[in-house]
């Protein structure tokens, strides 16, 4: 009696989450899809001319046209390269400086206050100075992006190293690990989760700053499509570029997340419960 009752209960419980798993994300789609459809209808029915806020169909066709001519890809690749270069620089320096200040108390006291001070400056405020120093072309753009990426990575790595459990490090000492072995077998795996989070935060800022960088004068890139759309009064082009940003941002974030996943399986085991 008891057993059969439990079995039915367990099955019922299994079925419910399966259904809910499909339905729950679908719930989130109702509002945006509903709004899009409503706007499309409003324009179709002549309630609005949709000139400043183009309906979804126009945006889609603009997107498709830009893609068909290869324009979209050309601009997207330029922007992607800028983000990649700035992200790479920011990550390298953020990781190095964060590891050093996290590891050494002296370096922390020496460097961290300055960096925290610099961090308080809204990075866009550097733009005029960067243009003076590095010119209006690629160099100043990439450096601006790198600065945006640097701070979250720096903070993440420093915090992760500082918060490595001393008790776990002692386990390494008990087994007489050498310095490099301690880094490889204890410190690296211990900071990995926080590091991945800081990389993803850094990437997000990288995408934010590439827009700012391309606003400061560019003849190519998705940011150029934005300003170009504004100057020529083509809102559909602006929204198409925004969609491209969203897709690329999501894609690159997904790449980092899935590249890191094998190293964080032990955390997954925890999250799944």
């Amino acid at each position: 009696m008891m057993i059969s009752f439990q079995a039915v209960g367990a099955q019922g419980e299994l079925r419910k989450p399966a259904l809910a798993r499909i339905l729950r994300p679908a719930l989130g789609l109702i509002v945006p899809v509903g709004l899009a459809v409503a706007w499309e209808l409003a324009v179709k029915l002549g309630l609005s001319n949709g000139r400043l806020v183009p309906p979804p169909s126009i945006i889609l066709s603009t997107f498709a046209d830009l893609a068909a001519t290869g324009e979209l890809q050309r601009h997207a690749i330029v922007t992607l390269m800028r983000v990649a270069a700035g992200f790479g620089l920011g990550v390298v320096f953020g990781t190095l400086v964060g590891a050093i200040t996290g590891y050494s108390g002296l370096m922390h006291r020496l460097i961290d206050p300055t960096l925290q001070g610099l961090r308080a400056i809204p990075s866009i405020a550097w733009v005029p100075l960067f243009i003076l120093w590095f010119g209006i072309f690629e160099k100043s753009k990439i450096i601006l992006i790198a600065i945006g990426v640097f701070f979250p990575v720096y903070l993440g790595v420093m915090g992760a190293v500082l918060s490595v459990d001393r008790k776990i490090v002692e386990v390494g000492r008990v087994f007489r690990l050498s310095g490099p072995a301690m880094v490889r077998r204890i410190l690296l795996p211990a900071v990995m989760p926080a590091y991945v989070i800081s990389l993803r935060a850094g990437l997000g800022l990288g995408w934010m700053f590439v827009v700012a960088a391309e606003f400061m004068g560019a003849s190519e890139g998705l940011g150029f499509l934005l300003t170009d759309g504004q100057q020529l009064g083509k809102p559909a082009q602006i929204v198409a570029a925004i969609v491209a940003f969203a897709l690329l941002g999501k894609l690159t974030d997904w790449i980092i997340a899935s590249a890191a996943a094998p190293f964080l399986r032990w955390e997954d085991a925890f999250a799944r419960r």
Partner: protein, 256 residues
């Protein structure tokens, strides 16, 4: 033979955690240390393991000075301290890296089986219960076959049933390899079930108040009259240690 030779440890904040502690533990002996909270038991084990260096005195293993962790000395901390990013089997094999794969696998499998966790070998530490985690930690400490094993309140966080089970495990393991075993506990029964000798510590500063033999045959029966008698004996000793300590200790030792 593990020797603590007039070991003193004063922490940088001025706490005299150990003063003039001398102990000798012979091969194959199981010494239990009991004493109140904060009397310096963990400090003593850490000094014996080479993790911390004493302010004065020295630790010797078969005549060799121990000033840093040594491959023949294993220590089991009060908490399991498993590495969360390694599966159970890899945690157990942590101290065996650099040895041939086959040998490692064999020894790990054996150690895991010994603590009764074979079916958990591929599981992450987070999926273990507290008692299982502690057993993994025991396996990890034993797999390198240390000739000295230092155990800091290994079972104190466990329920009575798991504790008794693990005490039996430990005695079996000790019977097989006969390492020097030093075990810290708050629990008088545990001390009497396990110990060949019991060292009683007093605090402020941490000292050995006395060491007694446990004249009980093994396996020990907690319900026997002889066991009860020994228990009363140890309780009396603890009581008088506490009284002497309260009597002798200057007032400021009790201020917090």
């Amino acid at each position: 033979m593990l020797v603590l030779d007039r070991v003193s440890k004063t922490y940088p904040n001025g706490v005299r955690a150990l003063e003039d502690v001398s102990l000798q533990v012979a091969a194959g002996e199981l010494l239990v240390i009991i004493g109140g909270s904060g009397c310096g038991k963990s400090t003593l084990l850490r000094a014996a393991s080479g993790l911390d260096t004493p302010t004065q005195g020295r630790v010797l293993l078969d005549g060799i000075t121990i000033a840093a962790p040594h491959e023949r000395i294993g220590i089991l901390f009060q908490e399991p301290r498993l590495l969360p990013w390694l599966r159970v089997a890899d945690n157990v094999g942590f101290g065996l890296e650099g040895r041939p794969r086959a040998e490692r696998d064999k020894r790990v499998a054996f150690a895991i089986e010994r603590v009764g966790l074979t079916e958990k070998a591929r599981v992450w530490p987070r999926e273990l219960s507290g008692g299982q985690a502690q057993r993994v930690a025991i396996a990890r400490a034993l797999v390198t076959r240390p000739s000295v094993l230092l155990l800091d309140e290994p079972f104190s966080a466990l329920d009575a049933f798991t504790r008794a089970e693990l005490q039996d495990h430990l005695l079996d393991l000790w019977d097989e390899a006969r390492p020097i075993l030093v075990l810290v506990t708050h629990d008088i029964e545990e001390a009497l079930v396990l110990g060949s000798r019991i060292a009683i510590m007093r605090s402020h500063p941490g000292r050995i108040a006395g060491v007694i033999d446990v004249p009980l045959p093994r396996p020990r029966d907690r319900l026997s009259a002889a066991f009860d008698e020994q228990k009363r004996r140890v309780l009396k000793l603890l009581d008088s240690t506490l009284k002497r300590q309260a009597h002798k200790a200057p007032l400021h030792d009790f201020q917090i």
